[in-house]
Protein backbone atom coordinates (compact mmCIF):
# COMPACT_ATOMS: atom_id res chain seq x y z
CA UNK A 1 0.00 0.00 0.00
CA UNK A 2 2.78 2.40 0.95
CA UNK A 3 4.63 1.42 -2.19
CA UNK A 4 1.50 2.16 -4.22
CA UNK A 5 1.14 5.59 -2.63
CA UNK A 6 4.81 6.31 -3.16
CA UNK A 7 4.50 5.50 -6.83
CA UNK A 8 1.37 7.62 -7.12
CA UNK A 9 3.09 10.55 -5.44
CA UNK A 10 6.22 10.09 -7.49
CA UNK A 11 4.35 9.93 -10.78
CA UNK A 12 2.37 13.06 -9.88
CA UNK A 13 5.60 14.84 -9.09
CA UNK A 14 7.21 13.68 -12.30
CA UNK A 15 4.31 15.16 -14.27
CA UNK A 16 5.21 18.43 -12.58
CA UNK A 17 8.84 17.98 -13.50
CA UNK A 18 7.93 17.31 -17.12
CA UNK A 19 5.78 20.43 -17.18
CA UNK A 20 8.75 22.40 -15.85
CA UNK A 21 10.92 21.17 -18.70
CA UNK A 22 8.43 22.24 -21.36
CA UNK A 23 7.92 25.59 -19.65
CA UNK A 24 11.66 26.19 -19.70
CA UNK A 25 11.72 25.45 -23.42
CA UNK A 26 8.70 27.62 -24.02
CA UNK A 27 10.68 30.58 -22.73
CA UNK A 28 13.67 29.83 -24.91
CA UNK A 29 14.01 31.52 -28.31
CA UNK A 30 12.99 29.45 -31.34
CA UNK A 31 15.91 27.86 -33.11
CA UNK A 32 14.17 28.05 -36.48
CA UNK A 33 16.06 29.88 -39.22
CA UNK A 34 13.59 31.96 -41.22
CA UNK A 35 15.42 30.89 -44.34
CA UNK A 36 14.77 33.20 -47.25
CA UNK A 37 15.05 36.22 -44.96
CA UNK A 38 17.77 34.89 -42.68
CA UNK A 39 20.72 33.13 -44.29
CA UNK A 40 22.62 30.34 -42.61
CA UNK A 41 26.20 31.01 -41.58
CA UNK A 42 28.05 28.18 -43.28
CA UNK A 43 31.07 26.43 -41.86
CA UNK A 44 34.34 27.31 -43.65
CA UNK A 45 34.68 23.79 -45.05
CA UNK A 46 31.03 23.42 -46.02
CA UNK A 47 30.80 21.35 -49.21
CA UNK A 48 28.53 23.02 -51.73
CA UNK A 49 28.59 23.01 -55.52
CA UNK A 50 32.01 22.31 -57.09
CA UNK A 51 33.56 25.38 -58.69
CA UNK A 52 36.37 25.28 -61.20
CA UNK A 53 39.01 27.89 -61.85
CA UNK A 54 39.94 27.23 -65.47
CA UNK A 55 42.92 29.60 -65.21
CA UNK A 56 44.71 27.23 -62.86
CA UNK A 57 43.27 23.96 -64.17
CA UNK A 58 45.79 21.82 -66.01
CA UNK A 59 43.06 19.61 -67.52
CA UNK A 60 44.53 16.42 -66.04
CA UNK A 61 41.11 14.64 -65.86
CA UNK A 62 41.91 13.40 -62.34
CA UNK A 63 38.74 14.87 -60.92
CA UNK A 64 36.75 13.24 -63.70
CA UNK A 65 38.25 9.87 -62.78
CA UNK A 66 37.84 10.40 -59.05
CA UNK A 67 34.18 11.30 -59.29
CA UNK A 68 32.12 8.34 -58.01
CA UNK A 69 29.00 9.41 -59.84
CA UNK A 70 30.66 10.49 -63.06
CA UNK A 71 29.12 13.89 -62.87
CA UNK A 72 32.19 15.61 -64.33
CA UNK A 73 32.73 15.45 -68.05
CA UNK A 74 35.83 17.02 -69.58
CA UNK A 75 36.90 17.23 -73.20
CA UNK A 76 40.15 18.90 -74.12
CA UNK A 77 42.28 19.77 -77.12
CA UNK A 78 45.91 18.85 -76.80
CA UNK A 79 47.29 21.38 -79.17
CA UNK A 80 45.67 24.40 -77.88
CA UNK A 81 46.80 27.52 -79.67
CA UNK A 82 49.34 29.39 -77.61
CA UNK A 83 50.12 33.00 -78.07
CA UNK A 84 53.37 33.58 -79.85
CA UNK A 85 55.97 36.02 -78.68
CA UNK A 86 55.51 38.34 -81.59
CA UNK A 87 51.89 39.24 -81.15
CA UNK A 88 48.37 38.21 -80.41
CA UNK A 89 47.47 37.30 -83.94
CA UNK A 90 50.25 34.81 -84.40
CA UNK A 91 49.57 31.44 -82.83
CA UNK A 92 51.30 28.09 -82.97
CA UNK A 93 50.41 24.67 -81.53
CA UNK A 94 51.62 24.28 -77.95
CA UNK A 95 51.83 21.51 -75.37
CA UNK A 96 49.31 22.96 -73.01
CA UNK A 97 45.96 21.21 -72.76
CA UNK A 98 42.89 23.31 -72.69
CA UNK A 99 39.40 22.29 -71.75
CA UNK A 100 36.77 22.69 -74.44
CA UNK A 101 34.01 21.03 -72.48
CA UNK A 102 33.99 21.02 -68.68
CA UNK A 103 30.54 19.94 -67.57
CA UNK A 104 29.51 19.35 -63.98
CA UNK A 105 26.11 17.74 -63.62
CA UNK A 106 24.76 19.06 -60.35
CA UNK A 107 21.93 16.56 -60.49
CA UNK A 108 24.43 13.71 -60.17
CA UNK A 109 26.92 15.38 -57.86
CA UNK A 110 26.75 14.09 -54.31
CA UNK A 111 29.08 16.69 -52.81
CA UNK A 112 31.63 14.10 -51.64
CA UNK A 113 34.63 16.30 -52.35
CA UNK A 114 36.73 13.55 -53.97
CA UNK A 115 37.35 15.76 -57.00
CA UNK A 116 38.75 18.44 -54.75
CA UNK A 117 40.99 15.91 -53.00
CA UNK A 118 42.33 14.55 -56.25
CA UNK A 119 43.15 17.92 -57.78
CA UNK A 120 46.95 18.25 -58.14
CA UNK A 121 47.34 21.99 -58.72
CA UNK A 122 49.33 23.77 -56.02
CA UNK A 123 49.00 25.82 -53.92
CA UNK A 124 45.37 26.42 -54.88
CA UNK A 125 43.18 23.59 -56.07
CA UNK A 126 41.42 24.41 -59.27
CA UNK A 127 38.25 22.52 -58.35
CA UNK A 128 36.81 23.42 -55.01
CA UNK A 129 33.51 22.60 -53.33
CA UNK A 130 32.40 26.08 -52.46
CA UNK A 131 29.48 27.45 -50.52
CA UNK A 132 26.84 27.30 -53.24
CA UNK A 133 23.91 25.32 -51.83
CA UNK A 134 20.90 26.77 -53.62
CA UNK A 135 21.04 24.34 -56.52
CA UNK A 136 17.35 23.99 -57.36
CA UNK A 137 16.41 24.62 -60.97
CA UNK A 138 13.19 24.39 -62.93
CA UNK A 139 14.62 22.21 -65.68
CA UNK A 140 16.89 19.24 -65.45
CA UNK A 141 19.13 20.56 -68.23
CA UNK A 142 19.83 23.67 -66.22
CA UNK A 143 21.60 21.54 -63.65
CA UNK A 144 24.47 20.79 -66.04
CA UNK A 145 27.01 23.54 -65.63
CA UNK A 146 29.28 24.07 -68.65
CA UNK A 147 32.42 26.11 -68.99
CA UNK A 148 30.58 29.38 -69.13
CA UNK A 149 28.27 28.37 -66.31
CA UNK A 150 30.88 27.32 -63.77
CA UNK A 151 31.42 29.76 -61.01
CA UNK A 152 34.95 30.60 -61.98
CA UNK A 153 36.66 32.47 -59.21
CA UNK A 154 33.29 33.22 -57.68
CA UNK A 155 33.50 34.45 -54.12
CA UNK A 156 32.02 32.24 -51.46
CA UNK A 157 28.48 33.14 -50.46
CA UNK A 158 28.90 35.78 -47.82
CA UNK A 159 27.55 34.19 -44.63
CA UNK A 160 24.91 36.31 -42.95
CA UNK A 161 24.43 35.91 -39.25
CA UNK A 162 20.85 35.22 -38.25
Amino acid sequence: MLQYLREAGYSLLSIGRGLKVTRANRRRRPVTLLYPEQRPSLAPRFRGLPEVDLNICIVCHLCEKACPTQCIHIEDILNAPVKGEAGAAETKPGKKKEAVVFNINAALCMFCGLCEESCPTKPVRSIVLNHGFEVAKYRRDDLVYGIDGLYVNAPANPPVEK
Binding site: Q3, S11, L12, L19
Partner: protein, 392 residues
Protein backbone atom coordinates in the same frame (compact mmCIF):
# COMPACT_ATOMS: atom_id res chain seq x y z
CA UNK B 1 -44.09 43.68 -34.18
CA UNK B 2 -44.04 44.81 -30.60
CA UNK B 3 -47.21 42.96 -29.82
CA UNK B 4 -45.85 39.87 -31.53
CA UNK B 5 -42.84 39.88 -29.23
CA UNK B 6 -45.10 39.97 -26.21
CA UNK B 7 -46.44 36.59 -27.15
CA UNK B 8 -44.43 34.23 -24.87
CA UNK B 9 -43.98 31.56 -27.53
CA UNK B 10 -42.65 34.02 -30.08
CA UNK B 11 -40.43 35.65 -27.49
CA UNK B 12 -39.00 32.27 -26.55
CA UNK B 13 -38.44 31.44 -30.18
CA UNK B 14 -36.63 34.70 -30.81
CA UNK B 15 -34.53 34.19 -27.68
CA UNK B 16 -33.63 30.68 -28.78
CA UNK B 17 -32.53 31.83 -32.21
CA UNK B 18 -30.55 34.79 -30.89
CA UNK B 19 -28.83 32.85 -28.10
CA UNK B 20 -28.20 29.89 -30.36
CA UNK B 21 -26.65 32.11 -32.99
CA UNK B 22 -24.53 33.97 -30.46
CA UNK B 23 -23.22 30.76 -28.93
CA UNK B 24 -22.52 29.22 -32.34
CA UNK B 25 -20.61 32.28 -33.56
CA UNK B 26 -18.78 32.40 -30.23
CA UNK B 27 -17.75 28.74 -30.53
CA UNK B 28 -16.58 29.18 -34.11
CA UNK B 29 -14.45 32.23 -33.27
CA UNK B 30 -13.08 30.62 -30.11
CA UNK B 31 -12.11 27.47 -31.97
CA UNK B 32 -10.44 29.49 -34.70
CA UNK B 33 -8.30 31.32 -32.15
CA UNK B 34 -7.74 28.14 -30.16
CA UNK B 35 -6.31 26.18 -33.08
CA UNK B 36 -3.92 29.01 -33.89
CA UNK B 37 -2.94 29.38 -30.24
CA UNK B 38 -2.40 25.62 -29.92
CA UNK B 39 -0.09 25.57 -32.93
CA UNK B 40 1.80 28.64 -31.74
CA UNK B 41 2.04 27.34 -28.19
CA UNK B 42 3.25 23.88 -29.20
CA UNK B 43 5.70 25.62 -31.51
CA UNK B 44 7.13 27.68 -28.68
CA UNK B 45 7.41 24.59 -26.50
CA UNK B 46 9.34 22.87 -29.28
CA UNK B 47 11.62 25.90 -29.86
CA UNK B 48 10.05 26.87 -33.17
CA UNK B 49 7.75 29.61 -34.34
CA UNK B 50 4.59 27.78 -35.33
CA UNK B 51 2.61 29.14 -38.28
CA UNK B 52 4.01 32.54 -39.22
CA UNK B 53 3.52 32.93 -42.96
CA UNK B 54 -0.18 33.56 -43.56
CA UNK B 55 -1.13 37.09 -42.67
CA UNK B 56 0.63 39.18 -40.05
CA UNK B 57 2.69 36.78 -37.88
CA UNK B 58 0.59 33.88 -39.19
CA UNK B 59 -2.62 35.04 -37.54
CA UNK B 60 -4.71 34.19 -40.60
CA UNK B 61 -3.48 30.58 -40.77
CA UNK B 62 -6.55 28.91 -39.27
CA UNK B 63 -8.89 31.13 -41.27
CA UNK B 64 -7.09 30.04 -44.43
CA UNK B 65 -7.23 26.39 -43.34
CA UNK B 66 -10.95 26.64 -42.66
CA UNK B 67 -11.51 28.20 -46.07
CA UNK B 68 -9.50 25.43 -47.68
CA UNK B 69 -11.53 22.75 -45.91
CA UNK B 70 -14.75 24.44 -47.04
CA UNK B 71 -13.65 24.38 -50.66
CA UNK B 72 -12.37 20.81 -50.62
CA UNK B 73 -14.20 17.98 -52.29
CA UNK B 74 -16.39 16.11 -49.85
CA UNK B 75 -15.60 12.44 -50.40
CA UNK B 76 -17.95 9.73 -49.22
CA UNK B 77 -16.51 6.22 -49.66
CA UNK B 78 -18.56 4.03 -51.97
CA UNK B 79 -19.11 1.31 -49.41
CA UNK B 80 -19.78 3.71 -46.53
CA UNK B 81 -23.11 3.83 -44.80
CA UNK B 82 -24.12 7.15 -46.33
CA UNK B 83 -26.72 8.34 -43.85
CA UNK B 84 -24.68 7.49 -40.77
CA UNK B 85 -21.55 8.86 -42.41
CA UNK B 86 -23.19 12.23 -42.97
CA UNK B 87 -24.88 12.30 -39.59
CA UNK B 88 -21.85 11.41 -37.43
CA UNK B 89 -20.00 14.77 -37.46
CA UNK B 90 -23.11 16.59 -36.32
CA UNK B 91 -23.69 14.13 -33.49
CA UNK B 92 -20.14 14.71 -32.30
CA UNK B 93 -20.42 18.47 -32.53
CA UNK B 94 -23.87 18.87 -31.00
CA UNK B 95 -23.02 18.12 -27.33
CA UNK B 96 -20.18 20.64 -27.31
CA UNK B 97 -22.67 23.19 -28.58
CA UNK B 98 -25.55 22.31 -26.27
CA UNK B 99 -23.51 22.46 -23.07
CA UNK B 100 -23.10 26.23 -23.41
CA UNK B 101 -26.82 26.63 -22.93
CA UNK B 102 -26.47 26.20 -19.17
CA UNK B 103 -23.06 27.73 -18.57
CA UNK B 104 -23.23 31.05 -16.69
CA UNK B 105 -20.91 33.47 -18.45
CA UNK B 106 -21.96 36.24 -16.10
CA UNK B 107 -24.47 36.97 -13.36
CA UNK B 108 -27.34 37.12 -15.82
CA UNK B 109 -25.67 35.81 -18.94
CA UNK B 110 -27.06 32.29 -19.10
CA UNK B 111 -28.99 31.11 -22.12
CA UNK B 112 -31.19 28.85 -19.98
CA UNK B 113 -30.47 28.64 -16.27
CA UNK B 114 -31.75 25.10 -15.80
CA UNK B 115 -32.23 23.88 -12.26
CA UNK B 116 -30.73 20.55 -13.38
CA UNK B 117 -27.69 22.10 -15.07
CA UNK B 118 -25.12 19.45 -14.13
CA UNK B 119 -27.48 16.63 -15.01
CA UNK B 120 -28.12 18.28 -18.38
CA UNK B 121 -24.38 18.59 -19.03
CA UNK B 122 -23.58 14.99 -18.13
CA UNK B 123 -26.55 13.75 -20.17
CA UNK B 124 -25.72 15.78 -23.23
CA UNK B 125 -21.96 15.22 -23.29
CA UNK B 126 -22.37 11.46 -23.27
CA UNK B 127 -24.12 11.67 -26.64
CA UNK B 128 -20.79 12.38 -28.34
CA UNK B 129 -19.73 8.72 -28.01
CA UNK B 130 -22.51 7.70 -30.35
CA UNK B 131 -21.11 10.07 -32.93
CA UNK B 132 -17.61 8.61 -32.65
CA UNK B 133 -18.85 5.03 -32.96
CA UNK B 134 -21.16 5.98 -35.82
CA UNK B 135 -18.31 7.65 -37.67
CA UNK B 136 -16.06 4.65 -37.17
CA UNK B 137 -18.72 2.17 -38.22
CA UNK B 138 -20.07 4.13 -41.17
CA UNK B 139 -16.63 4.66 -42.71
CA UNK B 140 -16.32 0.94 -43.52
CA UNK B 141 -12.63 1.14 -42.70
CA UNK B 142 -10.95 -1.05 -40.12
CA UNK B 143 -8.76 1.71 -38.68
CA UNK B 144 -11.71 4.05 -38.38
CA UNK B 145 -13.71 1.31 -36.67
CA UNK B 146 -10.88 0.58 -34.25
CA UNK B 147 -10.61 4.27 -33.46
CA UNK B 148 -14.33 4.53 -32.91
CA UNK B 149 -14.45 1.51 -30.63
CA UNK B 150 -11.48 2.73 -28.65
CA UNK B 151 -13.12 6.08 -28.19
CA UNK B 152 -16.32 4.39 -27.06
CA UNK B 153 -14.47 2.35 -24.45
CA UNK B 154 -12.46 5.34 -23.29
CA UNK B 155 -15.25 7.88 -23.13
CA UNK B 156 -17.67 5.50 -21.45
CA UNK B 157 -15.14 4.56 -18.79
CA UNK B 158 -14.01 8.10 -18.11
CA UNK B 159 -17.57 9.35 -18.03
CA UNK B 160 -17.88 7.78 -14.57
CA UNK B 161 -15.04 9.64 -12.79
CA UNK B 162 -15.91 12.81 -14.70
CA UNK B 163 -19.48 12.81 -13.47
CA UNK B 164 -18.38 11.83 -9.96
CA UNK B 165 -15.95 14.73 -9.96
CA UNK B 166 -18.70 17.04 -11.22
CA UNK B 167 -20.87 15.92 -8.31
CA UNK B 168 -18.57 17.31 -5.63
CA UNK B 169 -19.48 20.97 -6.21
CA UNK B 170 -23.11 19.88 -6.30
CA UNK B 171 -22.76 18.38 -2.84
CA UNK B 172 -20.92 21.42 -1.51
CA UNK B 173 -23.31 23.95 -3.02
CA UNK B 174 -26.44 21.91 -2.55
CA UNK B 175 -27.71 22.73 -6.01
CA UNK B 176 -27.52 21.36 -9.53
CA UNK B 177 -27.93 24.82 -11.02
CA UNK B 178 -24.64 26.12 -12.35
CA UNK B 179 -25.26 29.75 -11.46
CA UNK B 180 -25.94 28.69 -7.85
CA UNK B 181 -22.70 26.75 -7.77
CA UNK B 182 -20.87 29.78 -9.13
CA UNK B 183 -22.43 32.07 -6.53
CA UNK B 184 -21.48 29.65 -3.75
CA UNK B 185 -17.83 30.10 -4.71
CA UNK B 186 -17.86 33.86 -4.24
CA UNK B 187 -15.60 33.63 -1.21
CA UNK B 188 -13.55 30.47 -1.77
CA UNK B 189 -13.28 28.52 -4.99
CA UNK B 190 -13.95 24.82 -4.72
CA UNK B 191 -10.55 24.05 -6.20
CA UNK B 192 -9.05 25.18 -2.88
CA UNK B 193 -11.50 23.04 -0.92
CA UNK B 194 -11.31 19.85 -2.97
CA UNK B 195 -8.10 20.03 -5.00
CA UNK B 196 -8.02 16.25 -5.34
CA UNK B 197 -11.37 16.13 -7.08
CA UNK B 198 -10.48 19.15 -9.20
CA UNK B 199 -7.39 17.31 -10.43
CA UNK B 200 -9.49 14.20 -11.04
CA UNK B 201 -11.96 16.33 -12.99
CA UNK B 202 -9.22 17.72 -15.19
CA UNK B 203 -7.74 14.26 -15.80
CA UNK B 204 -11.07 12.65 -16.61
CA UNK B 205 -11.97 15.68 -18.71
CA UNK B 206 -8.80 15.33 -20.76
CA UNK B 207 -9.70 11.69 -21.37
CA UNK B 208 -13.29 12.57 -22.14
CA UNK B 209 -12.34 14.95 -24.96
CA UNK B 210 -9.45 12.77 -26.19
CA UNK B 211 -6.62 15.11 -25.34
CA UNK B 212 -3.04 14.12 -25.44
CA UNK B 213 -2.14 11.84 -22.62
CA UNK B 214 -5.35 10.01 -23.50
CA UNK B 215 -5.68 10.63 -27.23
CA UNK B 216 -6.05 6.95 -28.05
CA UNK B 217 -8.82 7.75 -30.48
CA UNK B 218 -6.53 9.36 -32.99
CA UNK B 219 -3.28 7.68 -32.16
CA UNK B 220 -1.59 8.59 -35.42
CA UNK B 221 1.21 6.14 -34.88
CA UNK B 222 -1.16 3.21 -34.33
CA UNK B 223 -4.36 3.95 -36.21
CA UNK B 224 -4.19 6.09 -39.31
CA UNK B 225 -6.18 8.94 -37.83
CA UNK B 226 -8.81 7.11 -35.82
CA UNK B 227 -12.50 7.42 -36.41
CA UNK B 228 -12.15 10.33 -38.86
CA UNK B 229 -9.79 8.55 -41.27
CA UNK B 230 -12.26 8.58 -44.16
CA UNK B 231 -13.56 12.07 -43.57
CA UNK B 232 -12.53 15.04 -45.67
CA UNK B 233 -13.62 18.55 -46.41
CA UNK B 234 -16.37 20.09 -44.36
CA UNK B 235 -17.19 16.93 -42.41
CA UNK B 236 -13.61 16.62 -41.23
CA UNK B 237 -13.70 20.30 -40.33
CA UNK B 238 -16.76 19.62 -38.20
CA UNK B 239 -14.91 16.85 -36.31
CA UNK B 240 -11.98 19.15 -35.81
CA UNK B 241 -14.29 21.90 -34.63
CA UNK B 242 -15.99 19.51 -32.22
CA UNK B 243 -12.66 18.39 -30.79
CA UNK B 244 -11.61 21.93 -29.94
CA UNK B 245 -15.08 23.01 -28.89
CA UNK B 246 -15.15 20.04 -26.51
CA UNK B 247 -11.84 21.10 -25.02
CA UNK B 248 -13.20 24.56 -24.40
CA UNK B 249 -16.40 23.07 -23.01
CA UNK B 250 -14.50 20.99 -20.48
CA UNK B 251 -12.57 24.11 -19.50
CA UNK B 252 -15.78 26.14 -19.19
CA UNK B 253 -17.52 23.50 -17.05
CA UNK B 254 -14.42 23.16 -14.92
CA UNK B 255 -14.24 26.91 -14.44
CA UNK B 256 -17.89 27.06 -13.40
CA UNK B 257 -17.57 24.12 -11.04
CA UNK B 258 -14.16 24.54 -9.47
CA UNK B 259 -12.69 27.91 -10.39
CA UNK B 260 -15.65 30.00 -9.32
CA UNK B 261 -17.07 30.85 -12.73
CA UNK B 262 -17.01 34.60 -13.16
CA UNK B 263 -16.22 35.36 -9.52
CA UNK B 264 -13.00 36.86 -8.22
CA UNK B 265 -11.44 34.83 -5.40
CA UNK B 266 -11.18 36.20 -1.85
CA UNK B 267 -12.76 39.50 -2.91
CA UNK B 268 -16.38 39.68 -1.87
CA UNK B 269 -16.76 43.42 -2.62
CA UNK B 270 -15.64 42.95 -6.23
CA UNK B 271 -18.15 40.16 -6.69
CA UNK B 272 -20.88 42.26 -5.14
CA UNK B 273 -20.03 45.07 -7.56
CA UNK B 274 -20.23 42.70 -10.52
CA UNK B 275 -23.59 41.42 -9.31
CA UNK B 276 -25.08 44.89 -8.98
CA UNK B 277 -23.41 46.75 -11.85
CA UNK B 278 -25.86 45.58 -14.52
CA UNK B 279 -24.64 45.13 -18.08
CA UNK B 280 -21.16 46.47 -17.40
CA UNK B 281 -20.76 44.08 -14.49
CA UNK B 282 -21.89 41.22 -16.68
CA UNK B 283 -19.35 42.20 -19.31
CA UNK B 284 -16.56 42.25 -16.73
CA UNK B 285 -17.79 38.90 -15.42
CA UNK B 286 -17.78 37.50 -18.95
CA UNK B 287 -14.19 38.65 -19.47
CA UNK B 288 -13.12 37.10 -16.17
CA UNK B 289 -14.84 33.84 -17.10
CA UNK B 290 -13.21 33.75 -20.53
CA UNK B 291 -9.78 34.50 -19.08
CA UNK B 292 -10.12 31.58 -16.70
CA UNK B 293 -11.24 29.32 -19.53
CA UNK B 294 -8.26 30.32 -21.64
CA UNK B 295 -5.89 29.65 -18.76
CA UNK B 296 -7.30 26.14 -18.42
CA UNK B 297 -7.20 25.58 -22.18
CA UNK B 298 -3.58 26.72 -22.26
CA UNK B 299 -2.83 24.36 -19.41
CA UNK B 300 -4.26 21.45 -21.42
CA UNK B 301 -2.05 22.52 -24.31
CA UNK B 302 0.93 22.61 -21.98
CA UNK B 303 0.12 19.06 -20.90
CA UNK B 304 -0.30 18.16 -24.55
CA UNK B 305 3.20 19.39 -25.26
CA UNK B 306 4.64 17.50 -22.31
CA UNK B 307 3.15 14.09 -21.68
CA UNK B 308 3.42 11.09 -24.00
CA UNK B 309 0.37 9.06 -24.94
CA UNK B 310 -0.34 6.15 -22.62
CA UNK B 311 -1.20 2.64 -23.75
CA UNK B 312 -4.78 1.43 -24.11
CA UNK B 313 -4.54 -1.04 -21.24
CA UNK B 314 -2.87 1.58 -19.05
CA UNK B 315 -5.65 3.96 -19.92
CA UNK B 316 -8.30 1.50 -18.85
CA UNK B 317 -6.39 0.46 -15.75
CA UNK B 318 -5.89 4.06 -14.69
CA UNK B 319 -9.52 4.91 -15.28
CA UNK B 320 -11.07 1.98 -13.46
CA UNK B 321 -8.51 1.12 -10.82
CA UNK B 322 -7.21 4.54 -9.87
CA UNK B 323 -9.49 7.37 -10.93
CA UNK B 324 -12.86 5.86 -10.03
CA UNK B 325 -11.87 4.72 -6.52
CA UNK B 326 -10.18 8.06 -5.94
CA UNK B 327 -13.19 10.10 -6.99
CA UNK B 328 -15.56 7.81 -5.07
CA UNK B 329 -13.55 8.17 -1.87
CA UNK B 330 -13.21 11.93 -2.28
CA UNK B 331 -16.91 12.20 -2.92
CA UNK B 332 -17.56 10.19 0.24
CA UNK B 333 -15.32 12.65 2.10
CA UNK B 334 -17.33 15.54 0.70
CA UNK B 335 -20.60 13.98 1.72
CA UNK B 336 -19.27 13.26 5.20
CA UNK B 337 -18.01 16.80 5.60
CA UNK B 338 -21.30 18.31 4.52
CA UNK B 339 -23.32 16.04 6.84
CA UNK B 340 -21.24 16.91 9.90
CA UNK B 341 -23.24 18.89 12.49
CA UNK B 342 -21.15 22.03 12.18
CA UNK B 343 -21.30 25.47 10.60
CA UNK B 344 -20.69 25.31 6.82
CA UNK B 345 -17.46 27.27 7.12
CA UNK B 346 -16.03 24.65 9.48
CA UNK B 347 -17.23 21.86 7.22
CA UNK B 348 -15.42 23.43 4.29
CA UNK B 349 -12.28 24.07 6.34
CA UNK B 350 -12.20 20.46 7.51
CA UNK B 351 -12.68 19.15 3.99
CA UNK B 352 -9.96 21.43 2.65
CA UNK B 353 -7.61 20.32 5.44
CA UNK B 354 -8.13 16.65 4.62
CA UNK B 355 -7.70 17.24 0.89
CA UNK B 356 -4.52 19.26 1.25
CA UNK B 357 -3.22 16.71 3.75
CA UNK B 358 -3.70 14.01 1.12
CA UNK B 359 -1.83 16.05 -1.50
CA UNK B 360 1.01 17.01 0.84
CA UNK B 361 1.22 13.40 2.05
CA UNK B 362 1.56 12.19 -1.54
CA UNK B 363 4.29 14.79 -2.10
CA UNK B 364 6.22 13.76 1.00
CA UNK B 365 5.90 10.07 0.24
CA UNK B 366 6.76 10.33 -3.44
CA UNK B 367 9.45 12.99 -3.15
CA UNK B 368 12.42 10.68 -3.53
CA UNK B 369 13.30 8.51 -6.46
CA UNK B 370 11.96 5.06 -5.86
CA UNK B 371 12.57 1.63 -7.30
CA UNK B 372 9.81 0.49 -9.63
CA UNK B 373 7.61 -2.26 -8.27
CA UNK B 374 8.73 -4.86 -10.81
CA UNK B 375 12.49 -4.76 -10.31
CA UNK B 376 13.98 -7.38 -8.01
CA UNK B 377 16.81 -5.45 -6.43
CA UNK B 378 17.46 -1.79 -5.71
CA UNK B 379 20.01 -0.16 -7.99
CA UNK B 380 22.52 0.72 -5.26
CA UNK B 381 23.22 -2.90 -4.45
CA UNK B 382 23.95 -3.64 -8.11
CA UNK B 383 26.51 -0.88 -8.37
CA UNK B 384 28.02 -1.90 -5.03
CA UNK B 385 28.50 -5.42 -6.31
CA UNK B 386 30.77 -4.22 -9.11
CA UNK B 387 34.37 -4.04 -7.89
CA UNK B 388 35.82 -0.56 -8.06
CA UNK B 389 38.80 -0.32 -10.34
CA UNK B 390 40.30 2.92 -9.18
CA UNK B 391 41.09 1.52 -5.76
CA UNK B 392 43.88 -0.71 -7.06
Amino acid sequence: MHRLLENPIVADLVRMIVYGGLILVGILLTVLVMILWLRKYLGYIQNRYGPNRTGPRGYLQTAADALKLLLKEDIIPTLADRKAFILAPSIVFLPAYLVYVVIPFGPRWVAADLNIGILFISAVTSVAVIGFVTAGWASNNKYALLGGLRSAAQIVSYEVPLVLAMLAPVILAGSLRLSDITLHQQNVWYVFITPVLAAAYLTAGLAEVNLTPFDMVEAESELVAGFNTEYSGMKFALFYLAEFANTFTIAAIGVSLYLGGWTVPFAAPANAWILNAGALGSLVAFLIFMTKCWVIVTFTMWIRGTLPRIRVDQLMEFGWKALIPLTLLSLLLNALAVSLPMRPAFQMAGLAAVNWAILIGLYVVGRHKIVPMGSARPKESVSAAIPQRSRI
